[in-house]
Subunit: 352 residues, 2 copies
DNA sequence: ATGAAAGCGCTAACAC
DNA sequence: GTGTTAGCGCTTTCAT
């Protein structure tokens, strides 16, 4: 079975066997017109019989297309794999890309914060025809790299530096709806634990939080930013406790903080929702196994990703896009963790 | 800031500016000898000033090396991302590869079971210098593809069809130790829910399971194979229950079945470890938040991956390997889910 | 130490 | 409809 040193077949071999020129073989390879039916058939048969497949590298070099699209995840693997957002994005985009003959080249931060390497890796040496990147750590420097290399890109999430070619959710609106729900449920002192205030998404969510509280008289809120660092959550909650300042509801704004927060609450002997209400921005797969079921905002990650890919695909094809961005609505998944009896899902209408 | 249509720099541009030949520039690019110190400096300066980086595609074509190593995960993304094994492997290998200038090209089944596409995708068009592949679905067909294209590869997990170049854990031994632990803890009727019996790892574990039971007089066991399908677990447990046949301990042999199994137990109002003992082969990150802490076998995924990469790296370099496989030991993480009081970790010594 | 030139395997423009 | 030819941007002999 073991076959060593088969000199790899080239288009030239196929051409010689078929007694045609390389050009003709190339045409049938790429399903291009200009080949007689019979010739085409013959060549196809030979290709199949030989089990020949063209050298992609050579194709890339000659055609100046790579068939790769780069996905830049601005986090290190340990981190981004621990929450559901990026894995879902990855799997959706891989499939979407495959159906149109594209391949995903993934680039991530090798260590958290080292986002430059991710950009350089994928852009230098031009191995991709276009890029999809998470916007949360996109700074002017990264942007200038993108522009410098003149590669089409679409961002996941808006960025203060870019106003075209991105997809996003209505962070502000979603957080407003969630907060209002908490207020309606009777929670009066809501603690919102969220990510770094430099992230646009976090800013919007905080703004939605305050907007809701303003409208809902009677409830007040506190915002605590974390760098997605677990010990911090513990400190925050303990600080609040020591000050006799304990909130009656908690909103966790990053799904990877949910589990440790729940554990901390258990250590503090606080029951959900009896002693404290609990909700999160973003869901976890395992929520379906939780009791009480956690109330949460669910992002349309799949749709977001599909939209991003479609935009990029059009950009690569050189099409002019009328809609340079796309904003998708979230849903509010109501569980029992905020004293609701009935589990249900509410579509949050898009901002008018 | 937006710069359009910068014709991309080529090695020729650099050569002209430096007033040397392309060959010389190529030599400094690849840090090869045969260039005068001064010339080298000059060229390096120019490269930096121009922010030039060579076209990888062209480099690949000319040098017949890709700098990519292919990772074949024989599952679809939804599946492999839901348990910790593959993500960890992925992140470890990406880093290991990066430190020696290699890049990972990931290929997965587009739909569960469609493993051929994964193989063809990565091998055809020769985009990789070597391959690391999960062995559990490797059949003769895939193997013949591997050999046909004459690409070096290392398997994660042994395969009945291959006896060289793989890394693995001692599945049999680990399961034996876990089962013995259960027997010692006084469990008498142990149900082992595991994956398809065609997987070599599953076979070994089942064998270890029975071996342990044989030695531990008094305890009996039942094995149920699943296709990693959630509803099945429910059926299995319900069947057992209807037959008045309920086990007093459960071992789940796939981490992605753990959560739903736990939920089912809760639905049945069975407490761990009071009503039923519970253990799993493979751990989950979230175990650290669980109470009772789940007893489990922990695989050395990181070390496994590193070993696999090192082997492949050597193979690609054309080195002759003395050790054609590597077997690593697991650990038994004892929690409270099998009526142990004290949480601790036990290294399982490698088979002598 | 450096340059010249011949490919790597393919595509694409232009002939016929 | 098909063949011819000139590259794509680089590496790598082989001269010098």
């Amino acid at each position: 079975m073991k076959q060593k040193n088969i000199r790899k077949l080239t288009i030239k071999d196929v051409a010689e066997i078929a007694k045609v020129s390389k050009g003709t073989v190339s045409r049938v390879l790429n399903k291009k017109p200009g080949v007689g039916d019979k010739t085409r058939k013959t060549i196809e048969t030979i290709i199949k019989k030989l089990n020949y497949s063209p050298n992609l590298i050579a194709q890339n070099l000659a055609s100046k297309k790579t068939g790769n699209i780069g996905v830049i995840i601005p986090h290190q693997a340990e981190y981004y794999l621990s929450n559901p957002y990026w894995p879902v994005l990855l799997s959706v985009i891989t499939k979407a890309a495959a159906t149109v003959g594209y391949t995903i080249l993934l680039s991530t931060a090798l260590k958290e914060g080292d986002i430059d390497s991710a950009y350089e890796f994928i852009i230098k040496g031009k191995r991709v025809d276009g890029i999809i990147a998470g916007s949360e750590l996109l700074g002017e420097k990264q942007l200038s790299i993108l522009y410098h290399y003149n590669v089409p890109f679409v961002l996941i999430g808006k960025s203060p530096f870019v106003n075209e070619y991105y997809v996003d959710i209505e962070n502000r609106r979603a957080m407003e709806v969630l907060t209002t729900h908490l207020a309606v449920q009777g929670f009066r002192r809501i603690l919102f634990i969220c990510g770094p205030e430099t992230f646009p998404s976090v800013k919007e969510r905080v703004s939605g939080f305050y907007d809701a509280l303003e409208k809902a008289s009677g409830s007040t809120g506190i915002v605590c930013h974390t760098s997605y660092d677990k010990p911090e959550v513990k400190e925050i909650i303990q600080n609040q406790k020591e000050n006799g300042f304990l909130p009656d509801a908690l909103v966790v704004g990053a799904s990877d903080l949910v589990l440790c927060t729940l554990m901390i609450l258990r250590e503090l002997n606080m029951n959900i929702p009896g002693d404290i209400g609990f909700a999160s921005f973003d869901t976890l797969h395992m929520y379906e196994y939780f009791k009480p079921r956690i109330t949460a905002i669910k992002q349309p990650i799949k749709e977001l990703t599909k939209s991003a890919f479609e935009m990029l695909f059009a950009l690569i094809a050189g099409k002019h896009l009328i809609k340079k961005s796309k904003i998708l609505p979230c849903t509010l998944e109501i569980g029992e963790s905020c004293r609701e009896k009935e589990i249900r899902t509410i579509e949050i209408e898009t901002k008018t």
